[in-house]
Amino acid sequence: MFFLKEYYPVLIFLGFSLALAGVIFGASFILAVSDADTEKLSSYECGFDPYEDARNAFDVRFYLVAILFLLFDIETIFLFPWSVSLSQLPSIGYWSMLDFLFELVVGFIYAWQIGSLDWE
């Protein structure tokens, strides 16, 4: 019930904004005059016809950035509860987080050294 009380307004907000976005988009879609032809509906490529699918190979470094982001974001999420309750933690709680951060920094330096943060 506690959870419901705190996040109930967020749920209503979500429903309201979903309805609002749907109404705005839908009303324009229905009301505006639609006069489509093949050229208008083809995807944009600087004036000429698109000659291949856009979803082909892309640089693997984007993937690498996403994985690094996952690692560091999980670390950030770990730090939030720790930082809020720091004054109540015994020293083991404090030092184990510092140890975790130390290892993370070692990993970060390694990632830097092997060049996975480089964009040339």
Binding site: F13, S17, F25, S42, Y44, F62, D73, S83, L86, S87
Partner: protein, 326 residues
């Protein structure tokens, strides 16, 4: 039960309508201020000194034809602008405008905010992939990589604030700043947080996704009419909410400087948000754009180590002098 529902719904409408008007006039302010900096006049035809221009723009976008490209993935293509718009609205749920004047007074407000702003990447990625256009695809990849890179340093900056105030509830964060605004003890952190906001909302000097010289307009190139308008509204509402969060975390939210009072609390909060809005606009007018490799270098090789180091310093000082809250 129904009464509570209705009250909350009215509260939400009371927030969303002024918000949309604020976004509309944000765009007018942007055009006017940039025109002023570049010694032009800016929009001045519709209404007195162009004051009705945003409404005219909105109406124009509303009556335009919605183009759904044939080789796009239609369901996702429609979903992406809705996603961006909805996420930019619901992050306002935890923002307190004055004491107790907040829609959802949750204990985890800061975390909720970070979670919702992380989800913003989905709108960008979905639109870029579903458009099935090369420009949109490349723009979405760049934009997503940029947003996630700067999110980490923003998160760690927010942890600095958490350490100093000992809570994630945004109302309590403001009240903890009654004696001193956190911008003074945490000056480097607050500057870093603001730069992170610029990168997170894809604004100058980090507006690479929209690099019009190479990618035309980035991930939203295939969108027209209301699809485009929803992206546009979402992006500007995001900028406003980032300004609001920066004011809450570092400039004392609705607190007046030196406790002078005079104006109502909400007005002070509005003034602080306006300050950030003008900063956003001026940045756009005066700064050149970063190159993409410089942007990633700045995010991963400067901001991340610096954020970690500042975090270590903050917690070291707080632990060493026994200044922890609670």
């Amino acid at each position: 039960m129904w009464l509570t529902f209705l009250t909350i719904l009215l509260n939400i409408i009371d927030l969303v309508i002024p918000l949309l008007i604020a976004v509309a006039y944000f765009t007018l302010a942007e055009r006017k201020i940039m025109a002023g900096i570049q010694r032009r006049k800016g929009p001045n035809v519709i209404g007195y000194m162009g004051l009705l221009q945003p409404l005219a723009d909105g109406l124009k976008l509303f009556v335009k034809e919605t183009v759904l490209p044939t080789n796009a993935n239609i369901v996702l293509f429609v979903l992406a602008p809705l996603c961006t718009f909805i996420l930019s609205l619901i992050s306002w749920a935890v923002i307190p405008f004055s004491f107790g004047n907040v829609i959802a007074d949750t204990q985890l407000g800061g975390l909720y905010f970070l979670a919702v702003s992380s989800l913003g990447v989905y709108g960008v990625l979905i639109s870029g992939w579903s458009s099935n256009s090369k420009y949109a695809f490349l723009g979405a990849l760049r934009s997503a990589a940029q947003m996630v890179s700067y999110e980490i340093s923003m998160g760690i900056s927010l942890i600095n604030v958490c350490l100093c105030v000992g809570t994630l509830n945004l109302t309590e964060i403001v009240i903890a700043q009654l004696d001193i605004w956190l911008v003074f003890p945490l000056l480097p952190v607050s500057i870093m947080f603001f730069i992170g906001c610029l990168a997170e909302t894809n604004r100058h000097p980090f507006d690479l996704p929209e690099a019009e010289a190479e990618l035309v307009s980035g991930y939203n190139v295939e969108y027209s009419a209301m699809g485009f308008a929803l992206f546009f509204l979402g992006e500007y509402a995001n900028m406003l909410v980032m300004g609001a969060l920066t004011s809450i975390c570092f400039l004392g939210g609705w607190l007046s400087p030196f406790g002078v009072g005079i104006l109502p609390d909400g007005i002070w909060f509005g003034l602080k948000i306006s300050f950030f809005v003008i900063l956003f606009i001026v940045m756009r007018a005066i700064l050149p754009r970063y190159r993409y490799d410089q942007l990633m270098k700045l995010g991963w090789k400067c901001f991340l180590p610096l954020a970690l180091a500042l975090f270590f310093i903050s917690q070291g000082i707080l632990m060493g002098f026994d200044w922890l809250p609670n």
